[in-house]
């Protein structure tokens, strides 16, 4: 893993703009691939033709056009938003807990959001708007539990113990969700759809209610980047520089809840993205949160959209759930970080 880190960082920090442009170019290429490849009969060549002849009525291919515009494009948009939100949320959570393993999926924040959605569906909520706010409230609950655990004696300073505490919280919330599934068969099918993280079958309409809160989260993130960088130097330094650590932490937790809750409402719980993305961003741009946050923007969608492409191609005519793929990518990174001789602290 250190070899990988070394290869990725080349010794001296490179220009942030160059990195950002390079990653954005990669993301654009992956986005194009996600429009070209799918589990169905419209292959890359036919999809490419259809994309080129968009305005040309004579060679209009209605099947290919439908598959691209109504099935693949919405997945792409949702993947872009969800990937960026989870990547940023992971970086923020890691900065505020000063723990490189802090990940919304591992710490039970996503499970909190999913559990809240389960409860909401159980009590008859079916509008997308309501689902977003409920998921964000659930994520906030999960975040506060994490923070409480981090403040307990000995846990906050030990990344592994925080992860264990998070695993327990996740397990508890998952079993509560399963309990509801067992007792209320009426909503079981609908809930089952939500507890599996996936981009398939999600509509663009599910995305629109996210924008107000994600806008707020983006604004807060820009404002919080400087104080967070100061906090990384230590509490006293941050206070000396005129920041208020408690306020900053609280706001970061709110932002993480908005981001993870929104992403979970749109695509269900997707684990490990919040771990892998900041890890790669730090490897590329160094530990400064102001630099890593910028790189998380293209890196998150890169991970989610490429995982989604793979999920369509492995078991045709069916598809794998996206969460399975991100776990396959994320688990080795987690093991690598944990097995590293010196666990990096933030």
């Amino acid at each position: 893993m250190r070899v990988l880190t070394h290869c990725l960082s080349f010794g001296k920090p490179r220009s942030l703009i160059g990195l950002w442009l390079g990653l954005s170019g990669l993301l654009a290429a992956i986005a194009l691939l996600s429009l070209l490849y799918g589990a169905g009969d419209v292959g890359p060549a036919r999809a490419w033709q259809a994309l080129q002849n968009l305005g040309d009525a004579a060679s209009y291919d209605s099947e290919a056009h439908f598959v691209i515009a109504e099935l693949r494009a919405p997945r792409l948009w949702i993947g872009l938003v969800v990937g960026a939100a989870l990547g940023i949320a992971g970086a923020l959570l890691q900065a505020v807990t000063r723990n490189p393993l802090a990940e919304p999926g591992l710490l039970g924040v996503s499970a909190g959001a999913a559990f809240a959605v389960t409860l909401a569906i159980l009590w008859g909520a079916d509008t997308a708007t309501l689902r977003v706010s409920v998921a964000q409230l659930g994520a906030l609950g999960g975040c506060l539990c994490v923070l409480a655990a981090a403040r307990l004696q000995g846990i906050g300073s030990d990344p592994i113990r925080l992860i264990l505490a998070g695993a327990i919280l996740s397990g508890l919330l998952h079993s509560l969700s399963s309990l509801i599934l067992l007792y209320d068969q009426h909503t079981a099918d609908e809930i089952r759809f939500w507890v599996v993280g996936s981009l398939a079958g999600r509509q663009l309409d599910d995305l629109v209610p996210l924008f107000p809160t994600l806008g707020v989260a983006a604004l807060l993130t820009i404002l919080l980047a400087r104080p967070l960088a100061a906090l990384a130097l230590g509490e006293h330094v941050a206070i000396g520089l005129g920041h208020h650590p408690r306020v900053v932490r609280l706001l970061v937790i709110v932002v993480v809840a908005l981001l993870v809750g929104g992403a979970t409402a749109a695509a269900g719980p997707i684990a490990f993205v919040g771990l892998v993305v900041p890890f790669a961003a730090r490897a590329l741009a160094g530990p400064d949160i102001r630099r890593t946050l910028w790189l998380c923007l293209p890196l998150g969608p890169i991970v989610v959209v490429s995982a989604d492409i793979v999920s369509r191609l492995v078991v045709p005519p069916s598809e794998l759930p996206l969460g399975v793929l991100t776990a396959l990518i994320g688990a080795p990174v987690l093991i690598g970080v944990v097995r590293g001789r010196r666990l990096p602290t933030l």
């Binding site: 169905g40 009969d41 009426h186 099918d189 089952r192 005519p317 069916s318």
Partner: protein, 305 residues
Amino acid sequence: MTSLRHLCMATAGIAALSATLPANAKSLETAFGTVEIDDDPTRVVTLYTNALDSALTAGVAPLGAVATRGGDGVARYLSEQAGDIEIVGTPRETNIEAVAALKPDVILASPRLPEAQYDLLSHIAPTVVPDVKPYQMDSWENEARVYGEALGRSDAIDDAIAEVNAKAETLSEHQNDSPSASLIRWMPQGALVMAPQIFSNTLLSKSGFAVDDGGTVKEGRPHSDPLSLENLSRIDNDWLFLATLNAEGDEAYEAAKQSPAFERLDVVQRDQVVTVDGQLWTSATGPMAARAILDDIASAMDTAQ
């Protein structure tokens, strides 16, 4: 006077004798060997939909049964006939203690009952596990015949099966050419396509439909993995039977139409979609289930004409 007393004593003696003798028993071949069963068992527990369905068809009211998949009680189509029946488990897990508490004369179980379960249950009462190959055209008939024999009421079962087959025959005579059909369960990320060999699909076949899974179901599986929305055209047949486990049929159809990939299917545009009760169509088997499914098919054909 003396002769009358003798007569009374003799009668009492015979009555006492017949009570101590074992009632007339019969032996039955099952998947786990030969079992001995009373000729006319009255305390019956069923651990499988077809067993419950067959018992009720034969005029026997079981004391206990397992719940239908995804429900708290027996399947809706049987709830009236089953009456106030004790639930002794789910399709996956039988509550052995609840079965024992009912003191059954005979337990009618599924052909797929695991041997470990059989060992426990056969200590409580003779347990009938039909030795029937699953997923064949006539699996349900053969199972029902075994249950009928176990209850000593083969005639009733044979009559019911003959009636079902006659009804299916009549339906198939009314079909012009065999229209293609698929049976699915809908989920927002795709469709579960039911295998052509499952119970309700064999009835569709007998009623003159060409059941088509679009090559999505793997050998020996009851249904496919969720089909990608990009591949929904594989189930775009003349007819689409949409099974819903819980929600109201119309509601589930409207929910499926929310998906643009479902909405644009030719069969949906022609409105040749029949919503059916999943508890009956994808979880049940048995003579009464067959009758109810054929009723559904007949009413769908009537509306179409």
